[in-house]
């Protein structure tokens, strides 16, 4: 299995602030990777840079060998990367079904959905995340957990090879988190490469076999969770200098 995502020397400056600093890593096809770091470490910025919602100040991003640095978001989606957002967003005046139909109508989504028709296909995606009974309802009245599932359903509509999940557990109850974990595991088993950020470390560290850690925009560590969890710099970043917590 080859490298699916290659990020080299990725840097993003906002005026005087360097949000991402010379960040490099690789993800192989079929991997299941977490991205961790304290608040403000730059995780969402990295996602925004990969998915095209921000342009890097310097550095390169390659997906499946194709240089996607600075490409427009919809083009990147049509190459096979889909993402969810930290702050839940939806097409608020459309039904859930229509919400998922839209990505199925993207260039990439159409390749798959046209075989059975966009509605059928979107229905089956909603079924796979457990939302099909709410297909005719608009998102406004749904609980938070369902909205997170909807985001994943929408991402799936574009038939992605790489799925970027930005803080998917944020704001979920215990039960909702468990359901989400099952869903993510299943997606991974189906062959989707998963790259997710997390702030609630407990779930993340037991879920993923590999974790990349960052702090203040810089790369800190990359490896199995147990190893990374013992990384001194990371511990300091999360907990502050050791003495106070002795």
């Amino acid at each position: 299995m080859g490298v699916i995502l290659e990020v080299k020397n990725l840097t993003k400056k906002f005026g005087g602030l360097t949000a991402v600093n010379d960040f490099s890593f690789e993800i192989k096809r079929g991997d299941f990777v977490g991205l961790i770091g304290p608040n403000g470490a730059g995780k969402t910025t990295v996602f925004n840079l990969i998915s095209g919602f921000e342009k890097p100040s310097s550095g390169k991003i390659r997906f499946d060998g194709i240089d996607i640095t600075g490409m427009r978001p919809y083009k990147i989606v049509n190459y096979g990367i889909a993402r969810t957002f930290q702050l839940v967003r939806s097409f608020k005046f459309l039904t859930l079904l229509d919400n998922v139909i839209v990505p199925c109508l993207s260039k990439r989504g159409k390749e798959v959905s046209k075989k059975v028709g966009a509605e059928e296909y979107a229905s089956s995606i909603l079924a796979s995340v457990g939302l099909v009974d709410k297909a005719r309802i608009p998102p406004i009245i749904l609980p938070h957990g369902d909205l997170r599932k909807l985001q994943i359903a929408k991402a799936l509509g574009t038939n992605p090879e790489l799925l970027l999940l930005d803080e998917p557990y944020s704001g979920l109850t215990h039960e909702e988190s468990a359901v989400l974990t099952e869903l993510i595991k299943k997606l991974h088993d189906d062959g989707v490469t998963i790259f997710m950020t997390g702030h609630v470390l407990r779930e993340l560290m037991t879920l993923v076999p590999r974790v990349i850690a960052m702090h203040q925009g810089k790369f800190i560590a990359d490896g199995p969770p147990k190893e990374v969890a013992n990384n001194k710099i990371l511990l300091e970043a999360y907990l502050g200098k050791g003495d106070e917590y002795a």
Binding site: S51, F53, R72, P73, Y74, V77, N78, A82, R83, F85, R89, S90, F91, K92, F93, L94, D98, N99, I101, V102, P103, L105, S106, K107, R108, G109, A118, K154, G157, T158
Partner: protein, 346 residues
């Protein structure tokens, strides 16, 4: 495979129409259409009918215009405050072609509408970067500039200045829809029905769903792999086409065009006003809004307060936006619906 699907769809139309007519909005629409069709024949008094016919025709012209605005703003989420641009350009082009190039009407109207589409592109493309209030002001600024350009004395040899073009000479096939107000009425009526059916079908289709998704969350649509730029341009083109049709009819209705009457801010205001009354997201509401305001204007003029007409309209718009963001006609129709259900014992 595709051909068979289309044939099947066409064969399904009668059943589809029957079930649609049974729904509340369907039967209401059919009812209104029947009234509009029979109305001209209701009275023996020719001049009385003709007088009102012209008002109905005007209301139908503005229905198309308001619907075109609603398509762009309420369905596609692109706020346009300069819709007069498309209306005016089409009217001017149509008038020019008829008065100076000897075009027959059936050629001048599409030409005018296509001219409006051309402007839809010219305006649409720089405006693609603008969202929300920026877009509103950008389109407003464009329409003001166009108004000024047409009023410029120095350009009046190309653009006809503040006098505009007037052409009430010549027999009817050349200069107006008809010498007969009745035929004019039906030509506009049929165009109205066809336009609304087309717009409706577009809105209901998957294409329409994509436009609505751009309206609801443009970033999300982008993240769903949709080329939002392309669809926004399409929305501008479709909207400007129908605005252009209305603009051509208006020019023919008046047999003249002039800068203030065809490009004025008040025209853009009317589109917004009429569509908002009926509810921003309902296309049919635009038509009800158009009829409401055309007839309100008539009543106010009859009452002798014509100077106050637009002030009153502006206040109504303020009230509608303030208190009834989904238009006031919706709630009224909802109440009617409940009444209807009670009548039918449901």
């Amino acid at each position: 495979m595709k051909k068979g699907l289309v044939k099947e769809k066409i064969r399904n139309i009668p059943t589809y129409l029957k079930s649609w007519a049974k729904t509340f909005s369907g039967s209401l629409t059919v009812f209104l259409l029947i009234i509009l069709t029979l109305f001209p024949f209701l009275s023996q008094n020719e001049s009385f009918i003709n007088y009102f016919l012209r008002h109905f025709t005007l209301a139908m012209i503005f229905s198309i215009f308001a619907a075109s605005w609603d398509f762009l703003t309420g369905i596609s989420g692109q706020i346009s405050f300069g819709h007069a641009i498309f209306f005016g350009i089409a009217g001017y082009l149509c008038a020019y072609l008829i008065a100076f190039q000897g075009f027959p009407i059936w050629l001048a109207i599409p030409a005018g509408a296509l001219g409006a589409v051309g402007f839809g592109l010219i305006i649409g493309i720089p405006c693609l970067r603008l969202r929300g209030p920026y877009l509103a002001l950008g389109t407003l600024a464009f329409s003001l500039i166009l108004l000024k350009l047409f009023l410029l004395g120095s350009l009046s040899n190309i653009l006809f200045g503040s006098e505009g073009i007037s052409y009430n000479t010549g027999p009817y096939p050349l200069t107006r829809l008809s010498s007969n107000a009745l035929i004019e009425y039906f030509i506009v009526f049929i165009t109205l029905i066809i336009s609304f059916i087309i717009i409706f079908q577009i809105v209901k289709s998957k294409f329409g769903t994509i436009l609505k998704s751009i309206r609801d969350d443009e970033t999300g649509a982008d993240a769903s792999g949709i080329n939002t730029t392309r669809y926004k341009v399409y929305a501008f083109m479709i909207s400007s086409f129908f605005a252009g049709i209305a603009g051509c009819f208006y020019a023919l209705y008046n047999t003249s065009v002039n800068p203030v009457g065809n490009f004025g801010t008040v025209i853009s205001f009317f589109a917004i006003l009429m569509a908002s009354l009926g509810g921003l997201t309902t296309i049919s509401g635009s038509s009800l809004g158009a009829f409401f305001f055309i007839f309100l204007e008539y009543i106010l003029i009859e009452m002798g307060v014509d100077a106050y007409v637009q002030l009153i309209f502006a206040i109504i718009l303020i009230l509608v936006v303030r208190f009834a963001e989904h238009g006031i006609l919706r709630p009224i129709i909802e109440h009617l619906k409940d009444f209807w259900d009670v009548l039918l014992g449901r």
